[in-house]
Amino acid sequence: MSLTRRRRAFALLGGWSVLLGVGAACGEEERREAERANPTTAVFADFARRVNDYAALRRRLTDSIGELDPTRSQAEIAARATALGTAIIAARPRAKPGDIFTPEVAAVLATLIREEHRRRSEPVQETRDDQQEEVPDFTPQVNALYPTSYPLATFPPTLLPLLPPLPEALEYRMVGDYLILRDVEANLVVDLMPGALPAGGGSS
């Protein structure tokens, strides 16, 4: 890794750490100061706001549809997932790629993910490629369901802690070289980011 890249990676990670710490412990003024000092902090703060907006919208929809309790009826589970997905799509009819993974967020995340992949050993990268191989080739789309008959690629557990945390309703997943933001219960692609990984996965 070149010195410049290494500095950039450390800056990104440092920025995220600052955001986490500041967000939790300090007041609004300190947060603004941190954002001024590190642009990455501001980018992630914007990401967090967009994620929180989605979560708030989803809470309102869930309140009207109702929570799901464990049930013996798979039909009930499927109906609730469909109802939630339909309501979310209706509430975000013009949702498009980049609404949450804004270009600024995408640039930071892509760098972060690529740097992390470069640090990983060959066996780790092979494992990640194997996990992707089980996912059929398809192009994810915002406001579309993740195909229910397709497996989900396991998300690299050592990469997850480096990404901004998400509320329980959302998760990151990889589909080919896309990073997607998936609504877990609605099985819905909320946003996506192409080019998150080098072509062919992590071992290139």
Partner: protein
């Protein structure tokens, strides 16, 4: 010899080995012991799943286990209501009718909404813990091991005073099968398992049966052949204790005080592996004194 008699004798000869094997229980069946079934990668709805399930039910007549651990890939392909009937409720009807409780983990083919399916006993959670007798089980979602789950796991492991700690999830930390061990998961989970004295780990994902020599004091089993099979997919290596990859399989387990007895069974009812594991009597500190981790199980490719 008359023709009907010949037919009867031929049928008896054909069925005898299976019938004999089906009664080949070598576990102690001790009163009050913790007895359970372990199965992985079962949800195809195809003939092999039904045959394996029938064998489980036959064994249960001699070894009355009360619950089952499902190691993920509980439902392959589409997950419509009729798929749950075809790939779970019908194959395991005999066990469900006998009130066997299934405790599922999620695999990479499983919709996370399976956590709301009551017969899987996930209680709406992707990961959870439960206790049977003096054994504490940790159900982990290895598809999405986020920091919150890792924090939860450490907290639960730390606070447990159970004699036995058994973790199970979908992706194997050790395997010789083609996809190879999940080295990233191992990097996160194994230090916790060692630190807090996990005794046994069950995983699926690879469609074979494997048992490994203890790694950092922990016994690892791959039990991923309850319906699918990757014939000839294991390789005996320095870490291997036992393998079976020529037919489908499942595992029966009995925990009696400080000993865990196990018996791996094939689709035809043959015993393909068996043994007993002693719990670490010197407490959890013993694990910390073990030598450095062994190299990864023979890597594929």
């Amino acid at each position: 010899m008359t023709r009907p008699l010949r037919i009867v004798l031929a049928l008896a000869a054909a069925l005898w080995p299976a019938a004999l094997a089906a009664q080949d229980v070598r576990l102690p069946v001790w009163p009050g012991s913790v007895r359970f079934l372990v199965l992985g990668d079962g949800g195809t709805g195809e003939r092999a799943q039904h045959e394996v399930a029938a064998q489980m039910a036959r064994y249960r007549q001699r070894f009355p286990f009360t619950f089952a651990l499902m190691l993920g890939d509980n439902i392959y392909g589409r997950e419509r209501p009729q798929d749950f009937a075809k790939k779970f409720e019908r194959p395991y009807k005999a066990l469900l009718d006998a009130q066997v409780r299934f405790h599922a983990a999620l695999g990479n083919h499983d919709d996370p909404n399976q956590r709301y399916y009551k017969p899987y006993n996930l209680g709406g959670k992707r990961y959870r813990t439960f206790k049977e007798g003096h054994v504490r089980f940790y159900v982990i979602d290895s598809n999405y091991l986020d920091p919150e789950q890792v924090r939860w796991l450490e907290s639960e492991l730390k606070s447990s005073d159970s004699d036995w700690k058994i973790a199970y999830f979908h992706h194997p930390l050790y395997t010789t099968a083609w996809r190879g061990p999940e080295v990233e998961l191992r990097a996160v989970l194994e230090p916790l398992f060692v630190k807090y004295g996990v005794d046994v780990v069950f995983a699926g994902h690879e469609h074979v049966y494997e048992r490994f020599k203890p790694q950092r004091g922990i016994h690892h089993f791959t039990v991923g052949g309850a319906a699918k099979l990757r014939r000839g997919d294991t390789r005996r290596g320095p870490l291997t204790a036992a393998t079976f990859d020529t037919d489908r399989s499942f595992l029966l387990v009995e925990v009696v005080e400080d000993y865990m007895y196990f018996q791996a069974i094939s689709r035809t009812g043959a015993v393909v592996d068996e043994g007993v594991i002693a719990r670490r009597r010197e407490g959890r500190e013993a694990a910390r004194a073990l030598p450095a981790p062994a190299p990864a199980a023979a890597a594929p490719r």
